[in-house]
Every structure is written in C-alpha cells, then in structure tokens.
Amino acid sequence: MGRARLVLRSVAPFLLSLPVLWLLQRASPPDVSIVLVSIAVNVILAVSLNVVNGFTGQFSIGHAAFMAVGAYTAALLTTGLADVQLLGLGEGASDGVIFLLALVAGMASASLAGLAVGIPSLRLRGDYLAIVTLGFGEIIRVVIENTRALGQATGISGLPAHTNVIWAGMGVVATVVMARRLLLSTQGRALLAIREDEVAAEAMGVDTVGWKVRAFVISAAFAGLAGALLVHKIQLVTPRMFTFVKSMEVVVMVVLGGMGSITGSIVAATVLTVALEWLRGLDQYRMVIFSMLLIVLMLTRPTGIFGTREIWEAVPRWLRRRGGAA
C-alpha cells in the first residue's frame, strides 16, 4: 500500500467520526449534551478498565483514582493557562490547543500514577491485587483531600467548559480504536494469554509482569482522559467525585458488558449511565437498587451481556480475512 493510503487507514476512524460528532453537537440541546458527555466519559472508563480486568484478567478496583489524577492535572493546566493566548491563533483555537495539551498532560500524569501503582502491585494475584488497587485508590484520594494546592475537599471550581460532544466523542473514538487494535494485534493476544494462563504465557516467552504493567498504565492513561473530559464539562473537580463507589460503578459496567468485550463495555456503560441518571430522582434508593442489581447480576449472569464476544465477530469470515486493520 502507498504511504498515503497507510496513513489514511490509520486515522480513518477519527476522520470519519468528526463530521458525525459535529452534527451531533449542533443538534443537541444542553441537557442532552451533558448526558452524551456523561455516557462518553463512562464508555472511556469502562473500555479502559476492560483492558486490565477483561483482556489481562487482573483485578483492578481503584480506577477512579487515575481519573482523579488526570482530572486534576488538566484542571490545573486550564486554570493556570486561562489567560494565555497562543501566538497566531484566534481565541477559540488557542483555547482548543491548550485544552488538548491539558488532556494529554492529564493522560500522561495518570499513566505515571498507573506505573506507580502497577509496578509494585502486579506481582500479586487475585484478591490481594484487588485490595492493593483499592488501597492505592483511597490513598490518592486522601492525598488530594489533604493538599491545599488542589483545593482539598472543596476542589477547584470555575473550570472552563471546554468539553463538548465533539471532544468527548473523539475521546471515545480514541479509546475504542486503541482497545480494538490492541486486542487484534499479537501483543494484545499476549494480554489474553496472561488472562488465560499466566504460567503458560510466561513459559512461552511473554514477559507477564511487564505486559501487565503496560496494560495497567494504558488503562490508567485513558481513565485520566475520562476524568479530564468530565471535569471540563461540569466545570468543577472535587475528590468526592472519585470515590471507591465510582470505581465500583466502572467495575459493574465492565462486568455487566462482559469482561473482555469492548462492545459489551460500550453498551453497558451507555445503559448504566442512562439508568443511573434516570434513577437520580429516587435519591437514597438509587444506591440500594444499584447494589441489589449488582448482586443479582453476579448471581445470575456474571459473564455479562456479551461475555467475550464482539459485534464485529458477527461479520462474516471473508471480511475478516482481508486483514485485521482499522
């Protein structure tokens, strides 16, 4: 294939989504727009957590903490650079570039957090790993709550409202493309092998600890993206947004959709976001219903809606044989 065609194939999903998202943005009144952004944020969280819990088969239940790291980093940048205008660009474009930088910075710091948590933890298995991720999650939140520069318990308010359907949607596209291309590649298969049988994978030359850490870091980075996007929609960032309950919500989305299924995570995140919104009127009963649903789900269908299946596997084989790209 020619150079140009290769590049095109690589960025095709982004190019194709852009006009769709732009139309969606124009067509949505503000209250719909906020729901769409919430859905997008949860989809990014669920798909990114799936990389660790679903693909690699690890127990990570502290995902909200990485969200927090990304959110706060981005918030600090956008508030800090609020009055800066880049040379040669109009105000809108300048804000856009700064926001992009903030998102990238959020992802970068979240991945560092993922590294800090992952390296020591990923020697542990199962329950123990879960507890450590939970512990680290709480520690990060407690540290934020006690840091004056981060606004402690009240957080930072007045964040610029950069996030719209386009930004959030592109975030989703980036996450899904990442997950899908990873899953189909041989490297991605190595993650699945670790899930299936870590001992055998190691014996076949897979550096299991290294890959687990890598998966963890990637997952954390995209959680950071989700966090950064979310807080720039609601224009506020507080530690209470990133509790263990939030982490569990994401775990439920991944389990409900089927661990290992990207399609499942997308569907479940959408369904659950809408359901939780709808239940908001029920106040205290919301969490009680949520926990009952969780128990019932575990007792009846722990493999989730989709198990490990994907929607693109329903496409006939001859299409698949044309090569696993895009």
């Binding site: 294939m1 290769l6 194939r9 690589s10 493309v177 990442m178 291309r181 990873l182 590649s185 041989t186 490297q187 991605g188 298969r189 190595a190 699945l192 092998a193 299936e196 049988d197 001992v199 055998a200 994978a201 190691e202 014996a203 076949m204 030359g205 897979v206 550096d207 299991t208 600890v209 890598r214 990637i218 490990t308 090569g323 696993g324 790209a325 895009a326």
Partner: protein, 272 residues
C-alpha cells in the same frame, strides 16, 4: 546426528527444597544438540520439579542451570524461553478461550519487533510483522497437522489434538531445547506411537534437543537415546535404555521390593 557439540541444556547438582521436603536432590544433566533424552520415574519422583527448575518456574535451592552455556539460575521463565528452552505441561495448559492459531501466534510474539504504539498506529512495520507471525504460526500448525483446526477454540479440540497444539506452540518460540512433560498421557497405544514418531521428525527438522518425561516406560525406552531415572528426587540410574531397563534399582523403584504383603482374598468374596 545426536550428541555433537556443546550442551544446550545443563544441570549441575540442582536441588529443590520446599520447606522441609527435598523434592529434587543433586540433579545432573547435559543435553546435547539433537539428543533425545528420556526422564522417567514413578509418580512423585520429581520429574516435573526438575522441569520446573530447568525452565525457571522454580529457582533452584542449590546447583546451577545453564542454557547454551549461559547461567540461567533464577531467571524468569520468559527469559529462559528467550534463551532457547520451550516446554509443554503435564496438565495441558493451553489458552483455552483462544483459537489454535492464536495459541501458536502468541508464542511467536517474543522477538517481534513491533510494540503497542505501532499496533495502534497500524504502521507498515506492524503489518509486516503480523503477516510474518501469521505465516509462522500457520507453518507450525501444519507441522503438527492441525491446520484444519486453525480457527477452533483450544478448549474444543479433542484431547490428542490439544497435546499436539501444545507442542506446536512450544515449537513456535523457536527453541534449541524442547522439554515435553508427559506428551502422550491419556493417549491410546497407536496414538502414542504416532506422536513419538512426530517428535523424532520434529527433532530432525528443527535440529532440537528434546527432553521427554514419560510415564510409560516401555514407550520412552523405545525412543530415547539416553534415559535418566528419578526416584524420590534422586537420580538412581542413567544410561542407555537397555541398561536402565535391566537395572535392579529401577525395577525396585517401579514395582517395590516385594515386602508389602497383600492379604489374600476371603473365601466368600469381597475385596481383599
């Protein structure tokens, strides 16, 4: 054909202790390119423990393991695999929810030059690597006569094919040494014979040294050039099959010393 050159896999005085139990004591081995060596012994003799010590699953409590001359003590299994040792497992450990093709493909991944980023960007290097790996995986499936099962989930394969798939997977790592842990377990007589012929062919075609644990004494004695016999962690005999088979210590290890008397059955029937 066999026995020439420096040993590809060596063990010198390898000892494995778990708490108070010495599972393996002073294990010595020198495996040369092209050799087919059998490791036998009654249940619990320490054969799999020896494998685990050689492949990095356990770090030896004492002694030294060398792969192609390089010291391999305490290296993690994936590093030892990179040095050229591949293995199969006593209880087949395939990636059950993945296809046969994927199972083999994963073993090709070590040594691949593309990483996560190129996978995401779909770079030409990535494409070329994926093609190369796919061809390689298909080739190994063909060698083990599993091409017709390429897209079948590993857990759906009949038992005999699962064992062959495990060997195909191990071969795909490009080893110098292949360690097979009871590769014929659960097979019937003719399947066993066919498998061992396959192993010999594989050895010749890929210039491997092969170490086989096998429970069926007659089988392994028939195909190995050399045999080591373990009992309670200790090497009680070592040599050519004909010699070992007649060694009284070996016979005793498998059949007991005859001192345990069984009660004769009661006249009216019932278990004795």
């Amino acid at each position: 054909m066999s026995g020439a050159g420096e040993p590809v896999l060596e063990a010198r005085g390898v000892t494995m202790r778990f708490g108070g139990l010495t599972a393996l004591g002073g294990f010595d081995l020198a495996l040369r390119p092209g050799e087919l060596v059998g490791l036998i012994g009654p249940n619990g003799a320490g054969k799999t423990t020896a494998f685990n010590a050689l492949t990095g699953v356990y770090a030896p409590s004492e002694g030294e393991v060398r792969v192609c001359g390089q010291r391999a003590n305490g290296l993690r299994p994936h590093r030892i695999c990179a040095l050229g040792v591949a293995r199969t497992f006593q209880n087949v450990r395939l990636f059950k929810e993945l296809t046969a093709f994927d199972n083999v493909r994963i073993a090709c991944h070590a040594g691949s030059r593309s990483g996560f980023t190129s996978a995401w960007l779909l770079t030409p290097t990535h494409d070329a690597e994926e093609r190369r790996i796919a061809e390689r995986a298909d080739a190994f499936l063909a060698v083990m006569e599993l091409s017709h099962r390429r897209d079948e989930l590993a857990r759906n394969l009949p038992y005999g094919e699962q064992r062959r798939l495990e060997i195909a997977r191990a071969l795909a790592t490009g080893p110098r040494v292949l360690c097979l842990d009871e590769p014929a377990a659960g097979m019937n007589a003719s399947e066993k014979v066919a498998l061992l012929e396959l192993i010999r062919t594989v050895r010749d075609r890929f210039s491997l040294a092969i170490l086989v644990i096998e429970h069926d004494m007659r089988l392994v004695l028939g195909v190995s050039e050399r045999v080591l016999v373990l009992d309670h962690g200790v090497t009680i005999a070592h040599g050519r099959p004909e010699e070992v088979r007649r060694d009284p210590k070996v016979i005793e290890a498998y059949l007991g010393d005859g001192k345990l008397k069984l009660r004769p059955p009661r006249a009216g029937g019932g278990a004795g």
